[in-house]
Point group: C2
Chain length 626, copies 2
């Protein structure tokens, strides 16, 4: 086995991107929030997922396709994709730091995949042997192109992380087969589940082969021409350029948008950006949970109508919050505006992160904003898209902390870390020190190789009412309000020290009046974190608890609670759930008479359901006027 | 055409019924609430529904089946049932008072129905000609037995109302065919949509033929033995005697329960009553809207899980609220307990009555408890079950005012009316005078033919905190608290005057904390009426309006508003919907700063959506503590 490459590679710059991504290996997290999660990813999540891929026959499906073992195909027809997503996550873990155990597992799985590929490049373990004749016969439902996309993404990530090309060669051979079959004058059609669009653009970036970009373009262009039935569920009801609202299956919709944004980054086709912007506005202004979760409906795992955002019956699939991050990451490259980074931060700390347990081996598929005891994370699912997806998200987060551009670099996320950034040919060592997300003070030590003029841009989050910046302990008058980047363009000396002080008060939010489920309720936020009430921490059931939103409630970092969380304590009132007998409705004054003052303790939403089963709610009633 | 019979017939008494129903024709409504609705029923609803039955081909389907016209069957395969339900409603209207127009329409339709019946008694216009061979081949989905049931109910009602037997003879011939086909040792199976169970028991009561009762028993007994697939949707997942919760399609569930209660009334089979009581408790304690509406879910028009009672996305089909009344009416006959009459009153004044417009010709299929402007009544539906169902409910309400028993009579509902009640062989003329539901004072003038000892029982509604009773202007100390019948057992003299004073304060209700949609909100009730805020009457959008639930808000009867309603005026606060720009969530303190004091005006829920489109909500946020 070769030694892993450790050089930091320049990522290719897309011609229509405003920003250039920073390679994952260029950023080493050292914080108390994400770095321990990366450790858990390497030590618990990825090994335990490998066991489950084996246990559930997902890897055996490749062995079977290679003729090494007999028996039936196991599980769902798209199970190959889980293996690819897991491999992609391994690639990111290896990009961060060598890990012989993960490397060995990944190499073993790659060998099984390579062995399963057919002579002509075809690779899908479901459509082998008796089902080989059904290949490409049902693009709408059978996820063949979707699985191919995940293979390509894994292959590119693994190649970038390790320099090894075996999986990339497998991907290229399969991609070339697909290119030979689909496109203008060839087979018409689009995938029922978007994914390959992003993947083909990435494969183009990695190989420089334009045929992959052209095929991505074909799949986007042909969408909505009813080649797969014309359903909103598949975003096939209307051509992409006519889309105005996010509809249908949420993960599909956002993977499609991410792919279209990738295509925009390469082509600069503004007819793609217009619908992307409109869908973004529709999602953010009308169809997104305060956690960054999306896809309100169980039925069809779909976006709801405008303002349809129920809490207890929220679907908010983990994969959809992740897709939200993927799409916004690409939008941010196209347009360096804080609003996209906001959503990345929001979903990463809340709606996506809730998808994985603190111990790194239990998962939510569905992320409600209010729940009773029975909603618990599971170690795996028959349809196991979410577990490896959260793994590959966590793995690539270090790459989302910074971007560079011709003038300097941008700080999107805050976390103690060391990074090496390439700015205009010279290298900047950047060290962040912060207790984020618990504290809003961020120290940035900037070490250019030599004095270098550059613009450093620091995001002032929307949640932050006031930010101050010090350069080498002197206040500097950067001009940025909440939700913008604060820019400092100067000649940087080795050892320069920036200190950003983001005020991080407890804030209470109300939802738009047309969000019926949230009427009369508030949600608590502090910094990037959305809070919730979990039963464990309350005197009474959280569903029976009201709060009085005081301006400065007590905030205390409790290191021993839930791996360390800042707990918010505030006054409220509550009734006993047990005071309700058989009645479904009762007199409000009688109910008031049961209300007693209580102390309410809120914890971050992502951390709920990590203790014994207990009810939870994000949206909390306000104590009514007497 | 014969003269209609005007004698009041004794209804047969079911052996296991505690109460005996009073024939519809024995009660003449003279009040300002229901009597005008009966007039509208006769003058607008029934004639306009006839036009629609013609216009939509429903009656032509009978002409086609009779070979009088050619062409295809029109509409849905269960459209015959709409014609039968309309006829049943006509029967009740004619029982109340002669009406040559309705009589002529009804007779015309009965002739068409009779002509369409086949030699062997079969009658379903969908399964004729090319589809005759499909008869009885799909009991689960094709509503053949359901349509038959509606024919039988219409036939019995028409026979009772008019004494004419043509339709009853048609029904008997068809029922005898069904009896010859189904039952032990014959064809096994149950109807996918219950209805025929009630109808067969009624046909047994009218004809005395036990074979109909036995067939009803067979259909109840065979249910849940998976003869139609074993789905909860059809209540076929479990034998009837093992049912504990109301599940699946709400109308089906409650028609089944009504049929099983009818069977109980005839057989006294306590193994039926036990599950009925448990389902009743499950429904009332966990699965019913405060309006008496049921069936929370659009998907499957179904009961939701416990406490799953969303407001804006409530389904609450008009037919389900009606079915709720039908079932409770039968339960009341079995057990004369106020709780059943409560639900009849609740659904009649609220969740069912909302299904029809004030002008009597527009209908809600779905009755949400919160809505935006687009939710409007329609003049008809492709699946038009609700319009003729609300007609047949309104038609039979006079028969639900009283019951008799061996000791005297019971007053379940309050409305100015004249009635002739048969008590122990002697006749009581009873005259009610009241402004109910606007006022809780009820005067009952009792005129026995001669001095007669009898027990008169007056319901003290659950909503009433205090009731007093006067006999000939002297207080009498009846012992009854809210939700019970107040009994006066004495020798009644002609001219005796009872005065019941029911306190009717405005009350506010909260929902059980597990009803997520209602958290932090109150609903307003006064007397039997549930109130709502409609946009027309508010300063700001009702969804942006909070109330301060004061103990004695202003109540004023506005005669010119919505055909006369008591409007409740109370203080509240509101924000402007327009103060929301593109944001989905905003700071609660900022939101508070937009809040202004307003005067809030609430109207009865049944009356909403009778003006220009406007938003509405039943559950209203409370003004929060500052």
């Amino acid at each position: 086995m070769n030694t892993l490459r450790t050089v930091i590679v320049e990522t290719s710059r897309s011609p229509h991107a405003a920003l250039r991504p920073v390679p994952i290996e260029a950023v080493q997290l050292e914080d108390n929030f994400w770095a321990p999660r990366m450790k858990t990813l390497r030590e618990v999540t990825l090994p335990s997922q490998y066991e489950l891929l084996e246990e559930t026959g997902r890897i055996n499906n490749f062995r079977r396709a290679a003729g090494k073992i007999s028996g039936d195909f196991q599980g769902l027809y798209f199970n190959d994709s889980d293996v690819y997503k897991w491999l992609e996550a391994c690639a990111y873990a290896l990009a961060q730091r060598p890990d012989p155990q993960i490397e060995e597992l990944a190499e073993r799985v790659i060998a099984e995949i390579a062995d399963a590929q057919e002579e002509d490049g075809y690779l899908n373990t479901y459509f082998t042997f008796e089902r080989a004749k059904e290949r490409w016969s049902n693009l709408r439902d059978m996820h063949e192109l979707y699985c191919a996309g995940h293979l390509f993404q894994a292959a590119v990530a693994y190649h970038r992380a390790t320099g090894r090309s075996q999986l990339l060669e497998v991907a290229v051979r399969f991609a070339d087969l697909i290119v030979s079959l689909f496109g203008p004058g060839k087979k018409d059609g689009v995938p029922g589940h978007p994914e390959i669009e992003m993947a083909l653009v990435e494969l183009y970036r990695e190989t420089g082969e334009e045929r992959y970009l052209r095929l991505a373009q074909f799949f986007i262009d042909r969408r909505g021409h009813r080649t797969i039935g014309g359903h909103e569920y598949h975003q096939d009801h209307r051509p992409f350029r006519e889309l105005r609202e996010v509809v249908g299956h949420a993960v599909r919709a956002l993977y499609l948008n991410a792919g279209a944004t990738d295509l925009y980054l390469e082509t600069g086709d503004e007819t793609l950006m217009a619908p992307l912007e409109q869908m973004w506005a529709n999602m953010v202004q009308r169809r997104m949970y305060i956690t960054g979760g999306v896809g309100a409906r169980y039925a069809g795992e779909a976006f709801g109508a405008d303002y349809e955002l129920p809490n207890a019956t929220a679907y908010a699939e983990t994969c959809a919050a992740i897709a939200n991050i993927f799409w916004n990451w690409r939008m941010l490259q196209a347009k360096p505006e804080s609003r996209f980074a906001e959503l990345i931060e929001l979903a990463a700390y809340n709606g996506a992160l809730s998808g994985i347990s603190l111990d790194g081996k239990q998962y939510f598929y569905v992320n409600p904003l209010a729940a009773r005891e029975r909603h618990r994370r599971q170690r795996w699912f028959t349809c196991a898209c979410c577990p490896p997806n959260i793994a590959r998200l966590l793995g690539q987060l270090p790459g989302m902390v910074y971007s560079t551009d011709a003038e300097g670099f941008w700080v999107h996320l805050y976390a103690s870390s060391q990074a090496t950034l390439s700015v205009g040919g010279s290298s900047f060592a950047v060290r962040q020190e912060t207790d984020y997300p618990w504290d809003g003070r961020v120290v940035l030590r900037v070490d250019p190789e030599s004095p270098t003029t550059a613009a450093i841009r620091l995001r002032v989050p929307e949640w932050c009412p006031a930010a101050t910046l010090l350069l080498n302990d002197e206040p500097v008058g950067g001009r940025a309000s909440s939700g913008q980047y604060l820019t400092l363009n100067r000649l940087w000396q080795p050892g320069d020290r920036l200190e950003l002080r983001l005020e991080m008060p407890v804030r209470y939010f109300v939802a738009h009046p047309l969000v019926e489920a949230d009427g009369g309720k508030v949600a608590i936020r502090r910094g990037p974190l959305v809070y919730c009430l979990e039963g464990h921490d309350q005197v009474e059931d959280p569903w029976c608890t009201e709060i009085h939103p005081v301006r400065s409630p007590n905030v205390r970092l409790e290191r021993d609670l839930l791996n360390g969380v800042a707990v918010i304590t505030l006054p409220g009132s509550a009734t006993e759930l047990e005071s309700w007998n058989a009645e479904l409705y009762r007199d409000a004054f009688e109910d008031d008479s049961f209300r007693r003052p209580v102390v309410v303790r809120a914890i971050p939403y992502y951390a709920w359901a990590n203790r014994e089963p207990s009810p939870m709610t994000v949206w909390i009633r306000r104590t009514p006027a007497e």
